[in-house]
Amino acid sequence: MNTFVLTISSPDGNIFQGEAVKLSVRGIEGDLAVMAGHIPFITAVKDCDCKIELSDGTEKKGHTSGGLLNVAKDSVILLSDCFNW
């Protein structure tokens, strides 16, 4: 499975930084998932549950109270104003 570097950053520091296979969040226009090789894009994220699929097949779930998702060529950054696992 192809992976990408995911960083979840909040004002309390980086909550998560590592390889991930898939990230699912609720964007301002609806639910979306990001996988490796996704086209670069930026969107606002709503207050929602996030699902992160890791390279070993496990799934992590968290909650963001909104923020910004920045998908670049080689990395994905979720800037969350408050993130809890």
Binding site: N14, G27, F41
Partner: protein, 267 residues
């Protein structure tokens, strides 16, 4: 003897208790440094990332229409003044207030008890949370886009090193275009640049407020440690001088007493 030495003894005692106080405050400040440093670095990371995104958005053509980009000059100014919760930190608080005095017409929002004493408010600098910053940021952003304020700034203290900190003002709204920009071609914005910018700005403002508060707090702690160090040194010097004067006074009193006894015995 008597009066003079007693006075000196009392003074030594009082300077000694001041020395204890400064040492204790210095130790408390040192113990807070590591935690404050960590908090500053974390908030700086977040603020740096969001600043980059907002800056890139601000440079795009579509975002020029955003209310946050309107340069309305030096009209109604709102400044967030970040000072300490306590005194005894050298020139830390006074440097901040001196800088604030340069903007007599501005509306001030105070963070830190010392600033609250002057400008009113109830934000604590040490325990300032992101929720508070978020609420403040939303209020400022809506006032700015409505046009009731024309620019927003933050007066904080820049942490240069343990020995030096400097009060500064940084303007966060309106956004300004910068020369440096990443290549934004090929990046899709959902739904469009303008709405992404308008959502990102309150986050950016809150991130900047938190980053400045955290940086100011470590500056306060560092300033207090330096101030307490030098106060401790001065107290020690003072005790040494007083001890010398006390010993001299005591010695001369003894000498005088011996002289009196000798003279009295008629030898």
């Amino acid at each position: 003897m008597g009066v003079d030495t007693k006075k000196l003894r009392n003074r030594i005692k009082s300077v000694d208790s001041t020395l204890h106080l400064t040492t204790a405050m210095g130790l408390v400040a040192s113990s807070k440094i590591r935690k404050a440093m960590e908090a500053m670095l974390k908030s700086r990371e977040y603020a740096g990332m969001i600043e980059k995104v907002v800056q890139n958005l601000a440079n795009s053509k579509e975002c020029a229409k955003s209310p946050y980009m309107e340069q309305r000059g030096e009209g109604k100014t709102c400044i967030i003044v970040i000072a300490g919760d306590r005194g005894l930190a050298g020139g830390y608080n006074s440097n901040v207030f001196r800088l604030a005095k340069q903007y007599p017409d501005a509306e001030f929002i105070a963070v830190g008890k010392r600033a609250c004493d002057i400008f009113g408010g109830e934000y604590n600098a040490e325990y300032f949370s992101f929720e508070q910053a978020s609420a403040l940021s939303k209020k400022l952003c809506s006032e700015f886009s409505e046009g009731s304020i024309d620019r927003v700034g933050i007066i904080s203290t820049e942490y240069i090193s343990m020995m030096s900190q400097e009060a500064r003002i940084s303007w966060i709204l309106p956004l300004v275009r910068s020369e440096e920009t990443d290549d934004m071609t090929g990046i899709i914005f959902e739904p469009d640049e303008l709405s992404v910018l308008n959502t990102a700005v309150p986050l950016y403002v809150a991130g900047m407020i938190v980053a400045h508060v955290r940086e100011s707090f470590i500056s306060e702690v560092a300033a207090r440690r330096c101030a307490m160090d030098s106060a401790g040194k001065n107290a020690k010097q003072m005790i040494d001088d007083l001890q010398l004067a006390y010993n001299r006074a005591r010695q001369s009193a003894i000498t005088q007493e011996i002289t009196e006894i000798v003279a009295g015995s008629g030898m």
